[in-house]
Symmetry: C2
Subunit: 272 residues, 2 copies
């Protein structure tokens, strides 16, 4: 999916919500456990219920890998289900990969050729040749970690160099030499609030993938106030607050209500 289509989807749906499919078999409703593939059954129901309110889905790989072979199967089926039934939803594999060139190439093959997702999150610590192999797939996106939503983001990402430039700013600047705003996005945590102003000084046009509203406590209003561009420029993710809002037989219905609430807030913020 290219930038234009992404922007069209946002306008059409009046939403920039991404639903995070962080599906933990220990947290899904009990009554699903008797199905053949509880994780997939859960995802399918969540997707069908929330699709009208969001423009993207983001499975986090950890939640599938920890199920071993079965987990990998559930992920595969979930992605096929999305591709077949919701071809206009953007699919992000949240994997935070990154390795030497030879190895990143294999990850790229995994996510873009085999799995066929639209975008992959990538960790920048290993530098250019750990990221560029992911850029060899036309039409696919690389989403580089910049300033994350967690407490530990302060440990290294805020380190200032001798000229006062912080590490996340260096990552934003340097990585712009590798690809432009049509191929690259950045992860910036919703919990970073006013820092979005600083981010926008370095990447005025790039889309930002913003986790951290909901369970992690970030504010949607603040993110939009400091981070929104004329093209929206934001994909805001919510996982736990939507998918685990209820764990009875009404879980999908309640997830839809929660997604709709967020979508309505987003529609209002887009209007401003």
């Amino acid at each position: 999916m290219d930038r234009q289509e992404l922007i069209s989807q946002i306008k059409e749906k009046r939403s920039f919500l991404c639903v995070g499919l962080d599906t933990d078999i220990k947290k899904i409703p009990q009554h699903l456990l008797s199905s053949d593939d509880p994780v997939y059954t859960f995802n399918k129901a969540i997707i069908d219920a929330t699709a009208p309110y969001c423009i993207a889905y983001k499975p986090n790989l950890a939640f599938y890998e920890c199920g071993g072979l079965d987990g990998w199967k559930s992920l595969d089926k979930t992605i096929r289900y999305l591709q077949t039934n919701y071809p206009h939803h953007f699919i992000i594999a949240d994997a935070k990969r990154g390795d030497i060139g030879n190895t990143s190439k294999m990850y790229a093959r995994c996510f873009f050729e085999e799995m066929g997702v639209d975008a992959l999150t990538v960790a920048p610590y290993m530098g250019e040749d750990s990221v560029t192999p992911f850029l060899e797939y036309p039409g696919k996106w690389v989403i580089v970690l910049a300033l994350t939503s967690n407490k530990g983001s302060q440990d290294f990402q805020l380190t200032k160099d001798s000229e006062g430039e912080r590490l996340f700013e260096k990552v934003l600047k340097k990585s712009q030499q590798w690809a432009d705003a049509d191929r690259m996005m950045y992860v910036v945590g919703a919990t970073q609030g006013k820092m979005f102003e600083d981010i926008r000084k370095v990447v005025p046009d790039h889309f930002l993938l913003v986790p951290g509203i909901g369970a992690q406590g970030g504010s949607l209003e603040e993110v939009c106030k400091y981070g929104m561009t004329k093209d929206c420029g934001l994909i805001v993710n919510s996982s736990r607050a939507i998918i685990y809002a209820d764990n009875t037989e009404r879980f999908a219905e309640v997830a839809a209500e929660k997604a709709k609430e967020v979508q309505q807030q987003m529609a209002a913020l887009l209007k401003e």
Copy 2:
């Protein structure tokens, strides 16, 4: 496997070689492709041939993930094979994972509970709470990326802060607050040569996992000259130069010869 046992294995085998199982189905000998599970068949043969000369195996996850479900199966079988037949070999999952706490916890469950490897490589960009969930498994090791072997290591890892401290040094210092040398190791690329001297100033006792000899061009002598401690303190990995040394029916035999060559160099270096 604890530190004492690791040191004993090194002394007994007079080796600190780790064989990297970066098994790419496109690179293994043609005649294996007719077997049920070519990647596993290849790994089994490589393991049986090289086990006398090494103390560790390191599958890199990218090479298995890119095979999808089949790849995941091959990895699982390879690890079971090692655990059953070579219980004194140290198993490192080279995955370079790291995410917010809630998610790192899932990766930890995947690698330490389900898969049961001894150690996992972890990327430090997201800071403390992305790493500490991996430390909740007694007896398991976390191997944090410090100064990697690739060209891109220069992009961010060498960035100096206002006091002249480089990012990799900051990672080494900060992470020592999270666990000691009995639970944590660091990745330092063999291509970094004399930099091992600087590394040893910050982590005099920690084991270092050293990729980058062989295909990547690092020098074993230099690594030992600047990085070896009284307990050895090094696990040096070679992947491509050993496992792809030959691609005829003699591949395992030739891999054994290559591993033996490295082991003999190591025995001499340990003596000094």
